[in-house]
Symmetry: C2
Subunit: 245 residues, 2 copies
């Protein structure tokens, strides 16, 4: 187990020069990739850019970049998201680290995937460099690097998370109808739900505030518009283990 023969140890065998020790470790470039989900036209969407690597010409890529020296990866994820999209008011969750040796054609690069949900309406894309735009998740087939694998991992993560916490609200406008909410759950989980039972369940959660307003410009009877009760949810977060459908 002594693989660092040149590392000095003290009288009881402990390593004193930890900086030198760390200097013997192999070093690897680290990137962060952001999987940004949105919801529009009853479809789950993902924000992608065109890869700027010649080997991946015409392939799409996640929003990623390398982590700076001494930068916490969470911070890197927020920085990269802000840089690529201009957005800075969304939360990001770390999902998983991907490390297959040949996942990057430029050599060994490890990437840490972060995931976020945001409301397409509220986040106009001001930066459109690299053809940044929304793609229907279902339509995504091939991607640069192992990004298809990453995106699929994040999708499964989302399916699970949305049943444990009412994250779906982050994907909807401030005011939304119950129909929109149900469409969201059906699209993400890939199932159909009974309308009455769905409404009953959300009513019993008591996380919706009736705005008193109605939908406008819909070609049928308008539904009530609700807001999500963020305060109440924050206050009772610890109780959340599951939303069963």
């Amino acid at each position: 187990m002594k693989r660092e023969p040149d590392i000095h140890r003290n009288a009881v065998g402990l390593i004193k020069d930890v900086v030198k020790l760390v200097g013997t470790y192999p070093r690897v470039p680290i990137t962060v990739d952001c999987v940004i989900f949105g919801f529009d036209e009853n479809q789950l969407k993902v924000l992608l850019i065109r890869s700027d690597l010649a080997v991946y010409e015409d392939k799409w890529s996640l929003l990623g970049d390398f982590a700076e020296d001494n930068e916490e990866l969470d911070d890197a994820a927020y920085r990269i998201l802000k840089h690529r999209t201009g957005m800075d008011d969304v939360y990001l969750d770390q999902v998983r680290t991907f490390s297959r040796p040949n996942r990057h054609p430029g050599g060994r690069v490890i990437t840490v995937a972060y995931c976020s949900l945001l409301n397409i309406q509220h986040h106009e894309l001001k930066i459109t460099e690299n053809e940044l735009h929304w793609h229907s998740y279902q339509s995504i087939k091939e991607m640069a690097f192992d990004h298809k694998e990453i995106i699929d991992t994040c999708y499964k993560w989302l399916q699970k998370r949305i049943q444990e916490h009412p994250l779906g609200f982050n994907l909807l406008p401030d005011k939304f109808s119950l129909r929109e909410l149900q469409n969201l759950y059906e699209a993400i989980l890939g199932i159909t739900l009974d309308r009455r039972n769905f409404r009953k369940k959300f009513a019993s959660m008591d996380l919706l505030i009736d705005t008193g307003e109605m939908e406008q410009d819909v070609p049928h009877r308008p539904g009530k518009l609700y807001k999500f009760n963020f305060e109440k949810y924050e206050g009772s977060k610890r109780k959340w283990i599951g939303i069963d459908f």
Copy 2:
């Protein structure tokens, strides 16, 4: 966004020399830390070693080491576990990556935490270098690096996972009594469970095989011994979303 002025781009602006591009990325030492849970004497245990860094004299540490060049981190985790303990027949799950800039006194080191559950009875510790041994999870207070944070994250991960999948069986001997199984769940979840309801629930899952044998050498009425039906579980894995207690 052009932060690599020396990187050649082709006629349409795409980067051709990806190796050179990756060469411009900051490089970081990566380590893997294994959180190995066991269960004995009705307590959740964790396998720790004595830190061999002078700055952490008398502190305990997770089973970790750096990842080799071009080594997938999953492989590194299995390698390190095998190296530190001699064990190679346990599964490992990636839990989370920790990247706080000053988490390692020797400089910037990112670590990826892996978690495993194993049966203390079946894995005699043949390697006891660095004072490798089991510690009661509850008794762990201070640790080297940010390992207390890592271990707590893995504990929460375990609490959640054990309610989604019947992972607890990995912590028990091949043959176990229902009482042992219940003790395990109670210890990990930190709750007490009704014995009849607990047995009813597991009976309804139909994942236990009655071995026909009884406990030996217990100072009271012996209970039946069961085996876990791994085949059946593997076959119906996709159905598992939750075990509610």
